[in-house]
Amino acid sequence: MSTHQPPMPQAPAAAPDWQAAPGGPYPGYTSPIPIVRTHLGHALASEWTKIKSVRSTMWTLGVFVVLVVGIGLLAGALVNANSDSETLSGENPLSFGFFGLLLGSICVITLGVLTTASEYGTGMIRTTMTACPSRARVLAAKSIVFFAVAFVFTLATSGFVAMVQASMLEGTGARTPTGGEWFKATVGISLYMALLGLLSLLIGSVIRHSAGAITIMIGVLLAPLVLALFMATESLNKVREWLFEYSIPNQLSVFYSNSLSESGPSGWDPLWIILGLTAAVYAGAYALLRSRDV
């Protein structure tokens, strides 16, 4: 490629007579590959391949399982060892699953953020959006796949821990949980955790930066409780109580009907709260994804 050599431009000899070629006003090459009208199902398959083919998924979910099962069983064993037949009289034995899930939520948040934000970090998002120009479909596919994975993992681990704890604590005077309590402590908490992860995924899509989005979500998780601790003055009592009651850890505990306070959300309230919040953030994240350049 000497610059002194006169260039030898190649006449477009190989150019076919494209104006005369068949195929309407836009002729050219026709691929033998069958053309498929893509739909959400294709995007879901793609996102499923993506989420299972990176190691961060295995790490976050692995640590999640270890935390939820490990801490759950440890809590059960400790309580069992330090109590007689009267200690837990009338208590719900499932409530000891709370501690593991509280820590496990950090893993769910991390995985949620990474599902979207890591694509911005690596540049993969440009490939993704080129392959699927419908941004609504990309966001929906990521959300559905992530939600399903988070829900299934939380349900399996929380269900396992609940069953082990219930049988472990039979001799401590704890009451037999009702069907409703079982449902809340497994399906209910799993829906909540999956929505919390989905919220993280959406924040990841808005912030486009893994570390930033994870920090924000951990802040959302912990800040209200920490702030409430420092609001010692009388005048701030109402704010403190509100922060306390609506903090994510307290909302989690509502699923075990052992809320840290007597007022505030109860029953299925936390699920409706996070559902509303996630829906609002979803709308915002979609609007931003649509209007911004990739």
């Binding site: 477009p12 590959i33 893509t38 995007a43 690596t122 440009r126 080129t130 392959a131 699927c132």
Partner: protein, 317 residues
């Protein structure tokens, strides 16, 4: 066929792409040239619907990119080799792309074979060299066997064998009737691959012409002479009305293709010539001449609208 019409992209005050209108035809390799930062990548991102144009329009076979139902079978693009999640294997990267467009999984192995990455198909992309990353990006572009291919600086990071391979690949893709649109900041590279040239500078269209026309219109042909009896030759040429330029190191240059005339004159006056050779400026020089004209033109019509370092990016290239 890619058609751009008045395509413009502004970032605040900065104009990255300024009213580009041209079309990229099937069956030939179209080179997209401009110095670094001239708006090539931004234009390509707008073609792919990644960036929203501030004004203007771009269509792929008459449709907007986001209206394509099966984009990868329409247009394959190598944007930059880094648009890959490093933690994913080459195979899985291509698999998730194939799935999103309903392309059969068997294509993944085929394109890996085409680009020569079969041996590392299960290796993570972050361990890939720059050249392997480019090959993976090209594999992604070929995945849907598309009618249109777009490569942004494809030879970056490739070794000579790889550069030769991509050149041959682009030509054969065009020969199959596909539209091939390839950007580069290297004129010499384009001279070997492109049939048609689109040149931009500072986001503006400078040329949209066939490669042969581009050279004819922009390159300078001259005759290079070395002669021990320099003064006498100068006199002779002057009398004949031929303008001579001294090019240093005893070399004289005469504009235009007058080698025969000069040779005959020298013979008539018994002058010894050590060299008499018709020369043509390289494509690189042709481009610099083009941008130089752009500088003069803009400097006359709108003083100060063009920075002094216009085209400076070429000097380093």
């Amino acid at each position: 066929m890619i058609e751009l019409e008045g395509l413009t992209k502004r970032y605040g005050e900065t104009v990255a792409v300024d009213g580009l209108t041209f079309s990229v035809r099937p069956g030939i390799v179209t080179g997209f040239l401009g110095p670094n930062g001239s708006g090539k990548s931004t234009t390509m991102r707008m073609i792919l619907g990644l960036d929203h144009p501030t004004a203007g329009d771009v269509r792929i076979d008459g449709r907007h990119y986001d209206r394509l139902k099966d984009p990868l079978t329409y247009i394959g693009a190598l944007l930059d080799a880094k648009a890959v999640h490093g933690g994913r294997s080459a195979y899985n990267h291509l698999l998730c792309l194939a799935q999103s467009n309903g392309i059969p999984e068997s294509r993944v192995a085929q394109v890996l074979q085409t680009v020569g990455l079969t041996a590392v198909a299960r290796k993570k992309a972050k361990g890939f060299s720059l050249g392997m990353g480019q090959r993976l990006g090209i594999a992604g572009a070929l995945l849907g066997d598309p009618r249109i291919l777009m490569f942004d600086e494809p030879v970056n990071g490739l070794d000579p064998e790889g550069i030769h391979w991509i050149r041959t690949l682009m030509k054969s893709l065009a020969a199959q009737g596909r539209t091939v649109f390839v950007s580069s900041h290297l004129m010499s590279e384009m001279a070997l691959t492109a049939d048609h040239l689109v040149v931009i500078g500072q986001g503006r269209l400078l040329a949209d012409t066939s490669m042969a026309d581009f050279i004819r219109a922009n390159s300078r042909s001259y005759v290079r002479i070395r002669c021990p009896q320099r003064e006498r030759l100068l006199d002779v040429l002057h009398q004949a009305g031929i303008t001579v330029v001294e090019a240093g190191a005893g070399v004289l240059e005469v504009e235009g293709g007058k080698a025969e005339q000069i040779g005959e004159l020298a013979a008539r006056y018994g002058l010894v010539l050590h060299e008499l050779s018709p020369q043509q400026a390289s494509l690189e020089e042709a481009f610099m001449q083009l941008t130089a004209e752009a500088v003069e033109y803009h400097a006359q019509t709108a003083p100060g609208s063009v920075p002094q370092d216009w085209g400076a990016g070429w000097k380093g290239a």
